[in-house]
C-alpha cells in the first residue's frame, strides 16, 4: 500500500513542478505578449505607391471606396527635332478614374489620345501578402483590360468593322514587398488584338513585365519597369521595341506624382506592349508623368 502512495506522491511532485515551471513563465509577460503579437494577422500594403508601377499596372490595389483620379502625359522624344523644347511641345495624354469596389477588386476607365482609345480594366487580388496567423509570401493579382480604338479610318470597310477595334490584355501580377524599401513584381502578359495591321503580325502577343521600386525617403521612391515582348514582328520594315521606364514617385498627401523617362508613347497595355516604336537604348527617350489624386468616397464598415 505504502509503495503505491510513494509512487503517487512522486507523480504528484512531478506534476506540481511542471505546473510551477509554467507559472514561473507567466511572469515573463513581455515574451508571452511578443509571442501573441506574432500571430497578429497583417496584410502588407503599399508595395508600390500607385496603381501603376510607371506604365503598367502594379500589384497595389486601391482600398475599398478609394477613387483615384489619374491624369498622365507622355511627351515626344527628346531627339525628334531641333525646336520642340525637349519633346514637350507634343504630348499623348490620358485621363481616367480608378475605383476600389473592395480591397481586392479594383476597376478603372480611361480615355487616351493615342489612337483615341477608350479603355477599361478590372483587377482582382487572388492572394495578398500577409504575415501572422497566415503567412502568405506573395501577392497575386489578375488583371484584364479592354481597349476600344475610336479613331476614324479613311477606308470605309475598316472604319465600319466594329470588332476590329477591340484589343484585350490579360496579366498575372506576381509581387512581393521584400522590405519597407524594396518591392518587386513580375507580370506575365498576353495581349490579344482582334485585328492587326499586317499579315505577319501576331494577333496574340506574349510579354514578361518586371517592375521594381526602391523607397528613398518616406515620400519618394525610385521605380524601374521593363516589358520583354517575346513575339513582336516588324511592321512595314519598322521594328517595335520593348517598353522601358525609369522614374520617381513623389507623394504629397493623397497626391502621387510619377515622373519618368520612357520610350513609351501610349498608356494602355495593348499599345505600349505591342506598338512601342522608340528605342530607349538608341536615345529615343521621352519625358512623361502620371498624376494620381486619391479621394475617399465614404467610410467602410468596421
Amino acid at each position: 500500500m505504502s509503495i503505491w502512495i510513494k509512487i503517487f506522491f512522486r507523480i504528484f511532485v512531478v506534476i506540481i513542478l511542471s505546473c510551477y515551471a509554467s507559472i514561473a513563465q507567466e511572469d515573463d509577460w513581455d515574451t508571452l505578449l511578443d509571442q501573441e503579437l506574432e500571430k497578429t494577422k497583417i496584410i502588407e500594403t503599399a508595395a508600390f505607391k500607385s496603381s501603376r508601377v510607371l506604365n503598367g499596372l502594379s500589384i497595389e490595389n486601391l482600398p475599398e471606396k478609394g477613387l483615384d483620379l489619374r491624369i498622365a502625359h507622355r511627351f515626344a522624344e527628346f531627339n525628334t527635332t531641333e525646336n520642340n523644347f525637349l519633346g514637350l511641345d507634343e504630348a499623348s495624354t490620358y485621363f481616367g478614374f480608378y475605383y476600389g469596389i473592395t480591397d481586392r477588386i479594383n476597376v478603372g476607365i480611361a480615355r487616351a489620345t493615342y489612337n483615341q482609345t477608350n479603355y477599361g480594366f478590372a483587377k482582382y487580388a487572388l492572394l495578398r501578402q500577409s504575415s501572422g496567423k497566415k503567412n502568405i509570401p506573395l501577392t497575386l493579382v489578375l488583371t484584364s483590360s479592354v481597349s476600344y480604338t475610336s479613331k476614324k479610318y479613311s477606308e470605309q470597310k475598316r472604319d465600319k468593322d466594329f470588332n476590329s477595334r477591340f484589343d484585350y490584355t490579360y496579366q498575372l501580377l506576381i509581387g512581393r514587398k521584400f522590405s519597407d524599401r524594396i518591392s518587386l513584381q513580375l507580370a506575365p502578359t498576353m495581349v490579344h488584338r482582334n485585328l492587326v495591321e499586317t499579315k505577319e503580325e501576331n494577333n496574340d502577343l506574349f510579354a514578361l513585365g518586371i517592375g521594381g521600386r526602391f523607397l528613398i525617403t518616406k515620400r519618394v521612391a525610385f521605380n524601374v519597369e521593363y516589358y520583354w515582348v517575346l513575339n513582336n514582328v516588324a511592321r512595314y520594315g519598322y521594328d517595335f521595341y520593348d517598353p522601358v521606364a525609369l522614374g520617381f514617385d513623389i507623394q504629397i498627401g493623397s497626391h502621387v506624382f510619377q515622373l519618368m523617362v520612357t520610350n513609351v508613347a501610349a498608356m494602355t497595355e495593348n499599345k505600349f506592349v505591342g506598338e512601342t516604336t522608340s528605342n530607349f537604348f538608341d536615345g529615343d527617350i521621352r519625358f512623361g508623368f502620371n498624376i494620381s489624386q486619391i479621394f475617399s468616397l465614404g467610410k467602410t464598415k468596421d
Partner: protein, 184 residues
C-alpha cells in the same frame, strides 16, 4: 504520510490561487479618432494582447501598429508609412498597474472606478500616463474600459504642413478589454 498529503493539498491551493489571479485576452479592442473641422479619421484594432493580474493590479498591453484598420480609404497607408513608421516601430506597448487595486473585490460582481498609471511606448518613445478606467467584475470574467486623450507631438509624430488641418493634434483613445482567466 499524512504530512505529505497535507503538503500536497497546500501546494495545490497555492497554485490554484496563483493561477486564477492572472487574466488574459488576445482580442482586446482599441479605437482612436482624430477629429478636425475638415475630416474625422478613426481606426479600430481587435487584435490587442493583454495580461492583467487582479491580485497585484499589474497590467500589460501589446499591439502591432500595422493591425489598425481604418474606415477611411488610404488612411491606413499614410498612418503606417508616414506617421507611425510601422516597419521601424512595429509595436506599441503599455506597462502599468491599477493604483487602487485593493478596491476591486473579485467576489463581489460590480463596476469599479479606478485609476491606471504606467508607461506607454509608441514609436519607440515611452511616456508615463495616468488615466481613469472602469473595471467590471462578473462571473469568471473581467472587463476593463478606458477613454483618454493623447497628444501626438509627445510621440514625435510629425504632420506635414499641407495636411495639418486634416490631422488633429490630440487623438481620443478608447480601450475595451474582455479578460478571461489565463490558461497556459
Amino acid at each position: 504520510m499524512k504530512k505529505a498529503l497535507f503538503f500536497c493539498v497546500l501546494i495545490l491551493i497555492c497554485i490554484a490561487s496563483a493561477a486564477q489571479s492572472v487574466y488574459f485576452t488576445r482580442t482586446g479592442h482599441i479605437y482612436f479618432i482624430s477629429q478636425t473641422d475638415v475630416i474625422d479619421i478613426d481606426a479600430n484594432n481587435n487584435q490587442v494582447a493583454s495580461f492583467f493580474d487582479i491580485e497585484t493590479g499589474k497590467l500589460q498591453f501589446a499591439v502591432l501598429v500595422k493591425s489598425f484598420e481604418f474606415s477611411l480609404a488610404t488612411a491606413k497607408e499614410h498612418f503606417n508609412e508616414s506617421y507611425m513608421e510601422s516597419d521601424k516601430f512595429p509595436k506599441a506597448t503599455f506597462k502599468g498597474k491599477i493604483i487602487d487595486i485593493e478596491e476591486i473585490d473579485l467576489k463581489a460582481p460590480g463596476i469599479y472606478q479606478v485609476d491606471v498609471t504606467g508607461d506607454l511606448s509608441v514609436r519607440g518613445i515611452t511616456k508615463t500616463i495616468e488615466v481613469p478606467a472602469e473595471v467590471q467584475v462578473a462571473n469568471n470574467t473581467i472587463s476593463a474600459k478606458s477613454e483618454f486623450v493623447l497628444t501626438i507631438a509627445d510621440f514625435n509624430i510629425k504632420v506635414p504642413k499641407v495636411v495639418k488641418h486634416r490631422v488633429a493634434k490630440q487623438v481620443t483613445v478608447n480601450v475595451n478589454m474582455d479578460y478571461a482567466p489565463y490558461k497556459k
